[in-house]
């Protein structure tokens, strides 16, 4: 069967994203990638925790003074909501509603862009107004590496999903693009999983001191 076979809502398989061998392989592949990413994030998390508030003698910036909760709260809400919107996209994929998938994936990208904008604003505030640059201390380096690695994942996810939307704008759903959308949504949920730990460990526990 050709991957570009046209479907109707009635002939659309229940698990279209796993209906082909390629889809099954993509599913297990994205998960194995995520497992290696878990290890990557564990290493930068552990580095951050061991270097928190550490730096040259007489260092005047600590996590408790630096971090604010307002921005972190808004960023958390944006990213959590974008996780739900990608679930909506997958719901429309099950119902063979190509437009629904594109619209909800588009909303996911917009929320992700909002998150990214706030993160860039936050980094700008810290480096320019607080004098907390990357080379300020061991604490600042480990903070930027941890949160920046997550930010890089967000950028990659945004480029990925935007590319999927543009390329599949007129194609309609088929067994070629269903696994692609599904893998992107799994990746996007993982970004949210990492952020849950970042806002808890970096921001909430940072404010506690």
């Amino acid at each position: 069967m050709d991957l570009n076979t046209k479907f109707t809502p009635k002939s659309w398989p229940d698990h279209a994203e796993q209906a082909t061998l390629e889809g099954k392989n993509k599913f297990v592949g994205i998960w194995i990638f995520i497992c290696s990413d878990i290890v990557l994030f564990a290493s930068v998390f552990a580095t951050y925790l061991s270097l928190k508030d550490k730096g040259p003698a007489g260092m005047d910036i600590s996590a408790a003074e630096l971090f604010g909760l307002e921005l972190a709260f808004v960023m958390t809400m944006l990213l959590l909501t974008s996780s739900l919107t990608s679930v909506y996209a997958m719901y429309h994929m099950k119902n063979f509603n190509s437009k629904g998938v594109l619209i909800w994936m588009g909303i996911t990208v917009l929320l992700g862009l909002g998150f990214l904008g706030l993160e860039i604003y936050e980094f700008y505030e810290y480096t320019v107004h607080e004098g907390f640059g990357f080379t300020h201390s061991a604490f600042s380096s480990s903070f930027y590496v941890l949160v920046g690695t997550h930010g890089l994942h967000v950028i990659i996810g945004l480029v990925w999903i935007t590319g999927l939307i543009i390329r599949n704008m007129k194609r309609g759903l088929n067994l070629y693009n269903a696994p692609k959308f599904f893998a992107a949504s799994i990746y996007w949920h993982f970004i949210d999983v990492v952020w849950v730990f970042i806002f808890t460990v970096v921001y909430l526990m940072g404010v506690l001191g």
């Binding site: 002939s11 082909t20 806002f199 506690l208």
Partner: protein, 113 residues
């Protein structure tokens, strides 16, 4: 690559049943999302409310753990037994968790010994 795919036209009853089932599942996902938002609120609230750090730290870590479990098992379908290679996936995730735990154990104990 579509050689192993068997496509079958559904009956009207089956089609309508599936649509209803999908809608019910989506409603459950919205409930899961509401729980996550609620937990996020609680986590920020206990920090703002200025309780003792010995109370706050375990509570917010526990809330984060539940949120992550919801993401993995509800949104990312890690608990779906019929998904392909789900055993492989679970093995890798738990192995990743074990390695992650080793990192924390190592970095938080021996670095500033």
């Amino acid at each position: 690559m579509g050689h192993d795919t068997h496509v079958q036209e559904k009956s009207v009853a089956q089609y309508e049943f599936n649509r209803k089932k999908n809608a019910v599942e989506m409603r459950k996902q919205v409930v899961n999302f509401a729980i996550m938002i609620l937990f996020t609120f609680i986590a920020f609230a206990v920090v703002v409310a200025d309780f003792s750090p010995y109370f706050i730290k375990p509570v917010i870590l526990l809330l984060a753990g539940v949120q992550v479990a919801l993401q993995l098992y509800a949104f990312m379908h890690m608990g779906e037994k019929k998904a392909p290679f789900i055993g492989v996936i679970n093995t890798f995730v738990w192995l990743g968790a074990v390695i992650a735990f080793t990192f924390f154990l190592c970095f938080l104990t021996i670095i500033w010994w």
